[in-house]
């Protein structure tokens, strides 16, 4: 249920894996007309309940992170549930277990502070909307909150990774 996004392949090889952020106040659950999305006491926002989901895609449109996807073959939304079958019995989610670069990791805040130079934060601002998530991202120490703006696909570019520009260096 994880989405691996290539940001702007023409300009960069950068990728961003998008897991469900397990928001403290999940917008997907709030907008669901069928009350099909539940959050368990441990803060994990579950995928849609099959007996309830009507496949309306409200959650797909509402999630600021673009996480829920409508699956036409089952007429139901599916999304990451933090591998609840694993995490509920003390295992780690599969994505973080197998990630070969450690970009995805499931561990304590103390372990992050001990082993990583970045800062783990979970506060987001989407325009006027403040979102607090269970999942953290690592950011430079100077960053307190991630302000998410809007970029137009195909218009935003960077030359930062242009090999021709690097070669012209001297």
């Amino acid at each position: 249920m994880i989405h691996l996004e290539t940001i702007m392949r023409a300009d960069s090889v950068q990728t961003a894996p998008q897991v469900c952020m397990h928001c403290e106040e999940p917008i997907c659950a709030q907008v669901c007309p069928a009350d099909a999305i539940k959050k368990t006491p441990d803060g994990i926002v579950q995928s849609s309940l099959k007996p309830r989901c009507i496949g309306c895609s409200n959650c797909v449109l509402a999630c600021p992170f673009g996480v829920p996807k409508y699956r036409v073959e089952i007429n139901q939304m599916m999304k990451c549930d933090m591998c609840y079958d694993r995490t509920s019995i003390g295992k780690r989610p599969m994505c973080a277990t197998v990630c070969p670069s450690g970009a995805l990791t499931y561990t304590t805040r103390e372990d992050i502070e001990r082993t990583r130079q970045g800062l783990a934060i979970r506060n987001w601002q989407f325009g006027d909307e403040a979102v607090r998530t269970k999942v953290n991202v690592l950011v430079p120490r100077s960053v307190e909150r991630i302000d998410v703006g809007v970029e137009q696909l195909g218009v935003t570019h960077t030359d930062r990774y242009d090999v021709a520009a690097l070669l012209a260096g001297d």
Partner: protein
């Protein structure tokens, strides 16, 4: 033999590649496996630990093996989806024999093996023993690699055995033996996070050895600086402290140029050089001519980058240098590696914690597979087939007269040259798909068509297998048991999970049966791979690659054992060269002066662009396995030509256009990916696909004179817009060589 028995479209229809998307028992969360088998990935040299879920005689899934120290549960897409090879519709379940006009028909083992044995005898009686060649592979276990070497010298009695690692690790191997005295990574991967500077040349770490990425990032969290050399900005290069977009084949400019600056600034450990090496004087003489300005011309990068690299590498307290095929796949591959080794030795930073050197072995058993005799010049334990004492020792183990062991034979590309010249008439290959992985595909096809007899042992019908007279249904890694040796030199244990399906057989039984039919049954009367390993231990004893102290039990208890391990109470040797003691008889490292020279084929007026070839993370080698797994093909379905916008503009090419990439030897038509993340004088095409999509249609068959590795990483091409292909090949599915 001769042309294909029937049109390739018919063969694809019968034998695939088809995509498997569903596990053996379906997507069913309620099915509990009977057992979890702790084993290792069947793909690359990282040899990640993994557990396979087994129900009955079927592999139905996987579970990470978090306790195996090398990868701690980490994997990559290939390892995660590996089990989709089991219960695959394309799986060969019985031997096949070529039938003109039909394709291939199933036959009994008796008929198939009779045919193979009688053809070997006929060809050898008519044309001489060496007229029959054997090709082994670097994904074979140590047991099977050993078996192939013995099979060649004792049963078939041909000098001409070589293996597909010839296309992979031999440049690093020759260089390492020449300089350090041993062919192995010098350090365990656990030394990487302790290095303050990491330099990686010609290695797309994130895609080709993904687990190694985490080691680099751990070093970075500890404050390390990372230097990457690559004509493309790969994912590891994007995050490097210094990314050097070296021109393909220009690395010597960087290494020699760095040494030039280091000499000037006093960053040379002269005490170490005096005490522990020979040859520095010759090296210094040459690198003094590689001023930053000259080095910059050789490397194709600004001089300031080379100076900056020296400023980072020179004064570092600890450092680790790694390289992979980008450095080695050259007609000067050995020299490229030796120049890199000079950088290590000049600082004395080797043989202690956080100070090291490694070649990142690519194939699953690329390390072990190059140690125990399936190379034309090698005997078990890394012994030398031309050394009288080595021959005598091994002859004693095998129970044969020393004179009966052939002398050194031909390597892989020369074997094909000999086929063209009419000197080799028959071939048997295992674990190899030369129609995708050898350079200059049209020349390879002509060779296969020229053979009077060709037999392959495989579990799918590969593109090369389509040219076979007999195809023997062999085993997947999970259907056999044995050891491999990972990138570090750690010997590990692949446990058997299931039996081969239907009438497929484990590979080692096929070889032993053939040996018996050739009259050598008494020398191949093994009951299990465990027995083969017992013999391998003794055969390697006292050799440079000493496995004598290693047992399967020790491997299981100690999470792998690093060779050399000369006795059962020896702990194994994770780190080599401690105390500056190298593996030559004089105990010193033998530094070699290296002068740059051009590639066999540089760009010119008619073919003005450099083609470099490589890989993607979701595919493995010739794709015979991974192009049959749905999720992996979905991830990167068809080869693209990466081209910089400046170069694309010259030829009027836009993103997504069909383009013809053409060399003097052949061409592909693929879609263009217009990206800034590559040198503007270079295009890149990944090589995992066949037929009209095969990057090796274009590559040269020139080889390094010392290692005989082909020069995959540079040849001259022209690039032009092409009309949308409409031939029967292009209409195949993408995993079979079609285009979308």
């Amino acid at each position: 033999m001769a042309k294909l028995p029937v049109d390739v479209v018919v063969l694809v229809d019968q034998f695939g590649p088809r995509l498997n998307r569903i596990p053996a028992t379906g997507w069913n969360a309620d099915i509990e496996p009977d057992r979890l088998v702790k084993t290792h990935c069947c793909f690359c040299g990282q040899q990640c630990g993994i557990q396979l879920k087994v129900k009955g005689n079927r592999v139905i899934g996987f579970e990470p093996w978090e306790d195996f120290p090398f990868n701690q549960g980490r994997l990559c897409p290939k390892g995660v989806k590996r089990y989709m090879q089991d219960e695959h519709p394309d799986r060969l379940k019985s031997p096949l024999m070529r039938k003109e006009g039909t394709g291939f028909v199933p036959v009994s083992w008796e008929e198939a093996m009779d045919k193979v044995a009688s053809e070997i005898c006929r060809i050898q009686q008519t044309f001489g023993n060496d007229a029959f060649a054997l090709i082994g592979g670097a994904s074979l276990t140590n047991e099977k690699a050993y078996l192939m070497g013995k099979f060649a010298r004792v049963a078939v009695r041909t000098a001409n055995i070589d293996y597909n690692g010839r296309l992979c690790m031999v440049s690093a191997g020759v260089a390492s033996k020449k300089v350090f005295g041993l062919d192995r990574s010098a350090n365990p991967w656990s030394d990487i996070p302790k290095a303050k500077v990491i330099l990686a040349a010609g290695s797309n770490v994130a895609e080709c050895s993904p687990i190694t990425t985490h080691y680099f990032w751990q070093a970075r969290e500890n404050g390390a600086k990372i230097i990457i050399l690559d004509p493309r900005m790969t994912p590891i290069a994007r995050n490097a402290d210094l990314y050097i977009p070296v021109r393909s084949g220009g690395d010597i400019g960087v290494f020699n140029g760095m040494l030039n600056v280091m000499i000037e600034r006093g960053w040379i450990d002269r005490a170490f050089l005096a005490q522990h090496t020979t040859g520095w004087e010759q090296v210094e003489e040459i690198v003094r001519t590689y001023t930053p300005e000259y080095a910059s011309k050789v490397a194709g990068v600004p001089a300031s980058m080379i100076v900056r690299a020296a400023e980072i590498w020179g004064p570092a307290e600890t450092s680790f240098l790694l390289h992979a095929r980008g450095l080695e796949h050259h007609s000067k591959g050995v020299q490229n590696c030796m120049a890199a080794m000079n950088l290590v030795l000049a600082t004395g930073r080797i043989g202690r914690e956080g100070c090291g050197y490694a070649m990142i072995t690519g194939q699953g058993n690329g390390q072990g597979g190059r140690e125990h005799g399936q190379k034309c010049d090698q005997l078990p334990g890394g012994r030398d087939i031309e050394n009288p004492e080595h021959r005598k020792y091994v002859a004693g183990i095998w129970g044969v007269p020393e004179e009966s062991i052939p002398k050194k034979g031909l390597t892989f590309v020369p074997i094909l040259e000999a086929i063209h010249a009419g000197k080799i008439k028959g071939m048997l290959s295992i674990c190899c798909n030369p129609m995708v992985s050898l350079p200059n595909t049209s020349w390879v096809r002509e060779a296969l068509e020229k053979l009077e007899f060709y037999c392959t042992i495989d579990f799918f019908l590969s593109e090369a297998g389509r040219y076979a007279d007999v195809v023997l249904a062999g085993s997947l890694m999970e259907e056999d048991e044995g050891t491999t040796t990972n990138v570090e030199g750690r010997v590990i244990h692949h446990r058997k999970a299931v039996d081969p399906p239907a009438d497929a057989l484990v590979d080692w039984k096929i070889i032993c049966d053939l040996a018996a039919r050739l009259g050598a049954g008494d020398k191949f009367s093994y009951n299990s791979p465990a027995q083969i390993f017992e013999e391998l231990r003794v055969a390697s004893k006292g050799g440079p690659n000493d496995y004598y102290g290693i047992t399967w039990e020790r491997i299981d208890h100690e999470q792998g054992v690093f060779w050399p391990c000369p006795s059962l109470d020896h702990p194994g040797t994770p780190r080599l060269y401690e105390g500056g003691r190298f593996a030559h008889p004089d105990g010193k490292a033998h530094m070699q002066p290296v002068e740059w020279r051009p590639a066999a084929e540089e760009p010119d007026v008619d073919y003005p662009v450099i083609l470099t070839t490589g890989r993607v993370v979701s595919q493995y080698l010739s794709g015979s396995q991974t192009r049959r797994i749905g999720a992996l093909v979905d991830q990167y379905p068809q080869p693209l030509c990466e081209i910089h916008p400046l170069l694309a503009k010259r030829f009027g090419i836009n993103e997504g256009d069909f383009v013809k990439v053409e060399s003097r030897r052949g061409s592909v038509i693929v879609r263009a990916a217009v990206v800034k993340t590559i040198r503007p004088d270079t295009v890149f095409v990944p090589y995992h696909w066949p037929l009209e999509r095969a990057a090796n249609n274009m590559t040269v068959r020139d080889i390094d004179p010392m290692s005989n590795i082909p020069e995959y990483k540079i040849c001259a091409v022209r690039v032009s817009k092409a009309p949308e292909p409409e031939d029967s090949i292009s209409e195949l599915e993408v995993q079979a060589g079609g285009i979308r």
